[in-house]
């Protein structure tokens, strides 16, 4: 499947003709050959020594060219002498490779490619993502007035090779809505849009971008992306799925992003903030990243089993999030495709295996972080106790004892109320946990002892210092690591364009997809790494490009030529995330409570959704300002996540989620049409509409602008007016129904027909999509 897609993509890029690969284009190992070998051969002739057949490995040049019984699988430059070619072209079912029962079969084109590759020398190259990214020269383009930025050169060159032309720039209303939603997860106000439309300066768009990047909403919006990776949730998972106080980590992410903490520091603090010299509370708090693993409080469970599961999750998540490598399989056996052995896995595991947490129901170790008020109270009570004790020394008095007792009780009351966040903490020095390899991944079946070590894939780390999490973090963020910067720029690109330059954001290994624009990816990766790891700067760079600012409109011809917009010849248009759908409705209707951070909140949810086993936690609909907080602050229970957001593809927070797959379902329509939260938003939007003095048309226009930012066309305005008048006539006849709808929208009084129109506005495709 992947392989076919790669071939299709290459055809598309005009690199190859209709009938196959152009004869004058040399075969590229990484682009053409490795995918074929990886898909068809490596499972039995790859890095995993446990399943290697006939002692032959085809993932290395040495393995493929080794003499075996006088024959060599690969004889460089001599296809017809190569056993590999003889085998793939054989008609004998006992000889042919891959064997019929493997389920793999080579196409004629694939066989031709393999033969050509060997004839051209049969060279092996390191997998593309394992080599250093470099900034290549900007490719020449025909439409030289279009590129504003190196990004545009790379994009336009591919576009032109694919016989496509760039789209015109998006209109300013759509552009400001797009960039506001992308950078802050909130729509602009119509007034902000008007100001931008009226701004004739060259820097008009830049000014908008800089204002958005400086707003607190930026950190809130981009934190959500990171929380998916951190598998953040407000409960511990499994049967009891009890509450966990870890929202301070969520706030740490928001603040770090808003301060534009460099990505290398952001990484080091989360993985090993506790191991930094003189670590601050904030740096220790950052390590809660890896305390988002689940804790099993079910009665009668083996705590060691779930502690081990949590440590393995940390290893897998670390490698996935920062390096785009999948480690899951190496728990049980060496990786079949990437150069990661089972030994490598458990060496890394041994490093993470040294923390003090142990699947305990109190989640220790924790970091108590009192509020200023609590700190004040504690010091006041402590002072009072000291005074009383002093008095007691002067003369014995029973009433003094009682007073001291009372103060101590007060003190422990305050201390208990202090938020305690689970954090990473190493075991006491000199008492390391012994690590053994788990045979077939089973923690009860322990094999040989394994020492902590970092795999040698991308250069080793100074051996003088202890091998610990801090060393892992430094290894990940050292400039020699070719994956870290690529993976992060690809992730940011994917959030802005809907699809990564490497579509398989989660897999940069040999089973992942090839980048659609390799030079662009590398240019961004180098720029990000060498420019101080600034995420804000990266985002700014991308959104200021002509590529980003194109209109998303597409005609039938272009759509047929590039249905998924791989060549980026139009602007990104895709459905807003679950969180943005909610936040936008709250913002447009004026309900949104702007408050950053704090404990998670419970906006309305249907009764009976929470019916979990042995869990006393109750969902109580918030009634005050907390009812209208951004979606990011919604209480997240792993075994029963907020239903409206799950319907819009939010994850459960059980495991690290690298990307969300977007769906388009009737259940989403039901949420938008009928969820009381959205009906209430419609009620509030209708109130804002009716606040406009003037004719109904002006009111409808106001609603349209609040929801979609741009002014309506005449047809749109007329159609909305028509449905308003139609419903208005109906509700005039049935005032009971009108009253009911007004009440359902959580309003004392109002215009039922206008509420229905507001409901229409919030349900438009354009409302749900990034324009």
């Amino acid at each position: 499947m992947r392989c076919c897609f790669t071939v299709a993509l290459l055809c598309f890029f005009g690199l190859v003709g209709d009938t196959g690969y152009a004869a004058d284009e040399p075969v590229s190992f990484n682009r053409d050959i490795r995918p074929i070998l990886a898909k068809n051969c490596f499972a039995c002739h790859g890095p995993d020594e446990g399943t290697r057949e006939a002692d032959l490995r085809l993932d290395t040049h040495a393995g493929a060219t080794a003499a075996r019984d006088g024959r060599r699988a690969l004889v460089p430059g001599r296809a017809s002498e190569s056993e590999l070619v003889a085998r793939i072209e054989s008609d004998d079912p006992d000889v042919v490779m891959p064997p019929a029962d493997s389920g793999h079969e080579l196409s004629v084109d694939e066989k031709t490619l393999l033969r050509r590759w060997i004839s051209e020398g049969g060279e092996y190259k390191v997998h593309w993502s394992f080599t250093q990214p470099v900034k290549s020269e900007l490719p020449p383009v025909e439409q030289s007035d279009w590129p504003k930025h190196p990004i545009d050169h790379f994009v336009l060159a591919k576009m032109e090779a694919g016989q496509l032309t760039a789209s015109e720039k998006a209109d300013r209303y759509r552009l400001i809505r797009r960039v506001s939603l992308d950078l802050t997860g909130l729509p602009p106000t119509p007034e902000e849009a008007d100001a931008f439309v009226a701004d004739s300066s060259d820097r008009a768009f830049e000014k908008v971008v800089d204002r958005l990047l400086a707003s607190e909403a930026y950190g809130e919006h981009w934190a959500r992306m990171w929380l998916d990776l951190a598998r953040y949730a407000d409960t511990k998972g499994y049967e009891k799925d009890r509450h966990r106080d870890i929202w301070k980590f969520r706030d740490w992410v928001i603040h770090a992003l808003n301060r534009d903490m460099p990505y290398d520091q952001f990484t080091i603090e989360q993985l090993a903030g506790d191991l930094l010299p003189n670590a601050s509370n904030e740096q220790i708090l950052a390590t809660a990243f890896h305390r988002n693993t689940m804790t099993n409080d079910e009665g009668g469970t083996d705590n060691e089993e779930f502690r081990v599961a949590a440590v393995k999750d940390r290893v897998d998540t670390t490698m996935q999030v920062w390096m785009g490598l999948t480690m899951g399989c190496a728990k049980c056996h060496s990786h079949k495709y990437d150069p990661i052995s089972q030994q490598d896995y458990y060496s890394l595991y041994a490093i993470f295996n040294q923390t003090a947490d142990a699947d305990r129901s109190d989640d220790v170790p924790v970091l108590p972080l009192p509020t200023a008020e609590q700190t004040w109270q504690i010091s006041e009570i402590e002072a009072a106790i000291r005074v009383l004790q002093q008095k007691k020394q002067e003369k014995s008095d029973d009433s003094l004892d009682a007073m001291i007792k009372e103060q101590q009780k007060k003190l422990s009351g305050v201390r208990n109320a202090v938020t305690k966040t689970p954090i990473m903490k190493e075991l006491p020095e000199g008492k390391p946990r012994e690590t053994r390899l788990h045979r077939r991944g089973n923690f009860l079946d322990q094999g040989d002892r394994v020492e902590p070590a970092i795999m040698e894939l991308f250069g080793s780390i100074d051996a003088e210092v202890p091998v610990n999490r801090l060393q892992v973090a430094r290894w990940i963020t050292q400039p020699e690591n070719p994956l870290t910067s690529r993976v992060m720029v690809n992730r940011v690109w994917a959030r802005l364009f809907g699809t990564g330059l490497v579509e398989t954001e989660e897999d940069f290994g040999t089973q992942g997809m090839m980048p659609s624009h390799p030079e662009l990816l590398d240019w961004l990766a180098v720029d990000f790494r060498d420019g101080g790891w600034s995420i804000k700067k990266l985002i700014r760079t991308i959104v200021l490009s002509s590529t980003y600012q194109q209109s998303a409109a597409v005609d039938v011809k272009k759509l047929a030529a590039d249905p998924r917009n791989i060549l980026l010849s139009r602007g990104p248009r895709f459905r807003l995330s679950a969180e943005t759908v909610r936040d936008q409705a709250l913002a447009a209707s004026g309900l949104l409570t702007r408050k950053v951070g704090g404990p998670s909140v419970m906006p309305p949810q249907p009764d009976g959704v929470w019916k979990s086993t042995y869990n006393a936690l109750k969902w109580i609909d918030a009634t005050g300002p907390d009812r209208y907080r951004r979606a990011l602050y919604t209480y997240w229970k792993r075994t029963s996540p907020y239903p409206a957001m799950i319907t819009f593809d939010a994850g459960s927070g059980e495991v690290c989620q690298i990307r969300r797959v977007r769906t388009n379902t009737p259940l989403q329509a039901l949420v938008m049409l009928n969820d009381p939260a959205y009906v209430e938003a419609a009620g509030a939007l209708a109130r804002r509409m009716n606040d406009v003095d003037g004719a109904t048309a002006a009111r409808i226009r106001r609603g349209f602008r609040l929801a979609l930012i741009r002014p309506p066309s005449d047809d749109e305005a007329a159609r909305l007016l028509e449905v308003y008048e139609d419903l208005s006539a109906n509700y005039a006849k049935d005032s009971a129904a009108a009253d009911k709808l007004v009440k359902a929208a959580n309003r004392e009084a109002g215009d039922a027909a206008m509420i229905a129109v507001a409901n229409v506005l919030l349900n438009l495709d354009e409302s749900l999509m990034k324009p």
């Binding site: 999948t326 579509e503 059980e654 388009n664 259940l667 109906n730």
Partner: protein
């Protein structure tokens, strides 16, 4: 839906390009995720001839005692009250048993039934009446001995959270027969959802469109947000939807994104569902003799369903599970592929009130026994039995020893058994399953005697019956071709139980 001519043409083009294979409806994905995503548009090489069209899975959350229901063990009766030999305790992990517990003989009487001579306890007269239709598997075993991980292993193939449930896999592999209804419906009774919560019907790494949809029968919307807001009649809703459609059509003319056409279709489908779902969910439409067959009572909402501790409120005539069984029949009759029932309250440790083998288990059996017999008989009389695979069981078994951590001696209303992963009983029926028995345990029911059947075997067999090759059926994720039956080839289709 009428579109302008110009638009119809566009739609035809885009349909041909994007939706030719998949069709719209409940399985339709957003355009961006439809193509190129591994697996989503996968080749159908995993399809094999199907014995069953749909599945009704009856999961007894907590795990019923096989000792009181299916395992007539005279030897265990003989050793009743004696201390458990150390060989059964050493090196074993138990959830709650401490030290040396006493052996506990079956608490109820057994009798053989029907032509197959099926041995069943007196607690299951209904099952006895259909004993020649079911295949009882007494040799099930699992790797997990705590509820949540064991339920996850059973239903998602992995004891950790985050993997797709079997219903999601089937939904993904086969889709729904009825585009106006979800392909995978979940119904819960017993007052609680199972230990692993909604993760049991989550879609894991599969797109969320394949997750189970929980239909509620406790008085609220059968599907969340299905009803229009109060004061919005169906006619008013139609008018708003017409306006949405027309404005979306303008949008499509301007922008040309086929996703907008999908959106229009999905809103229309939502409108149709507002009719079709309550209709199919309304068991009040059934005649009295059918309601009686199951013991169903339309509209009844048991107080156990909203109690903090439902266990102390259990009554033998509680119709909630029976209602769900009848609903399950209506759903499969209407083309729903996978109906998952959970009944909570089967964890009979004997340590707290309302969870004993001697007093609670008979009540729970009354709640389900007639309903299950009714379901099988009803499916048979409608000719649906052969194409509907029914599976019944818990997530593990219960120990032949008495649980001893709270009550060391036998005490009425507090007799219980601990979790037992080494051997337990499930049964399957219909959908090409051969009636009879499969597998056995040793004299005291501790270990499997012959023909062991693992969780992987069960999963492989279920997929096989619904027309999916369990070994070929996979989804690329995390660098692996993920499968319900796991990465190894241990799981096998148990041919002996297939007719």
């Amino acid at each position: 839906m009428q579109l302008p001519i110009s638009l119809q043409k566009t739609q035809a083009v885009t349909r041909r390009h994007f939706f030719g294979q998949t069709g719209l409806g409940f399985g339709a994905l957003a355009l961006q995720s439809l193509l190129g995503r591994d697996g989503v548009a996968a080749e159908k090489d995993y399809r094999i001839p199907a014995k069953a069209k749909s599945i009704i899975y009856l999961h007894m959350a907590g795990s019923p005692s096989q000792m009181e229901l299916f395992e007539d063990k005279p030897a265990l009766t003989k050793f009743h009250g004696q201390e458990c030999p150390q060989e059964y305790l050493e090196g074993k992990r138990f959830a709650f048993i401490k030290g040396t517990p006493k052996m506990l003989g079956p608490q109820f009487k057994y009798q053989k039934h029907g032509e197959t001579g099926q041995s069943l306890s007196e607690l299951l007269p209904g099952l006895a009446s259909i004993s020649d239709d079911v295949c009882v598997i007494r040799s099930m075993h699992t790797e997990q001995f705590n509820h949540s991980p064991a339920q996850l292993l059973l239903q998602t193939g992995n004891p950790r959270l985050g993997y797709p449930s079997i219903g999601s896999w089937v939904n993904y592999g086969l889709g729904s027969e009825n585009e106006n209804l979800p392909g995978f419906v979940v119904l819960a009774s017993g007052g609680k959802t199972p230990s692993a919560g909604k993760s049991l019907w989550g879609s894991g790494f599969l797109p969320t469109v394949y997750q189970g949809i929980q239909c509620r029968t406790d008085g609220g919307d059968p599907i969340l947000y299905l009803s229009n807001p109060s004061g919005m009649s169906r006619e008013a809703r139609r008018k708003t939807l017409d306006a949405i459609r027309d404005l979306n059509t303008f949008e499509h003319q301007n922008i040309g994104d086929p996703e907008t056409l999908t959106r229009i279709s999905q809103y229309e489908l939502a409108y149709r569902m507002q009719m079709s779902v309550p209709e199919v969910m309304d068991i009040g439409k059934e005649p009295k003799h059918i309601l009686d067959l199951y013991g169903a009572q339309p509209g009844h909402v048991s107080e156990a369903e909203s109690a903090a501790d439902p266990r102390v409120l259990y009554k033998g005539n509680d119709p909630t599970f029976a209602n769900n069984c009848l609903l399950a029949r209506r759903l499969v009759e209407n083309g729903v592929r996978f109906v998952q029932l959970y009944d909570w309250g089967w964890d009979h440790h004997g340590s707290s009130p309302g969870e004993s083998v001697d007093e609670t288990l008979p009540i729970k059996c009354q709640q389900i026994d007639r309903a299950i017999a009714g379901l099988v008989k009803d499916l048979k009389q409608r000719g649906l039995f052969d194409e509907t695979l029914i599976i019944w069981g818990g997530e593990f078994g219960r120990t032949p020893m008495m649980q001893n951590n709270v009550h060391k001696e036998l005490k009425k209303g507090f007799i219980g058994r601990d979790h037992h992963p080494h051997a337990f009983t499930m049964w399957m029926a219909g959908g090409g399953i051969k009636p009879g028995s499969y597998g056995s345990t040793d004299d005291i029911g501790y270990y499997i005697g012959e023909n062991p059947m693992s969780i992987r075997d069960l999963q492989a067999t279920i997929l096989h019956q619904i027309g999916i090759d369990p070994h070929r059926f996979n989804f690329a994720y995390e660098g692996l071709n993920q499968r319900l039956i796991g990465p190894t080839e241990e799981g096998r289709v148990i041919k002996e139980i297939i007719s």
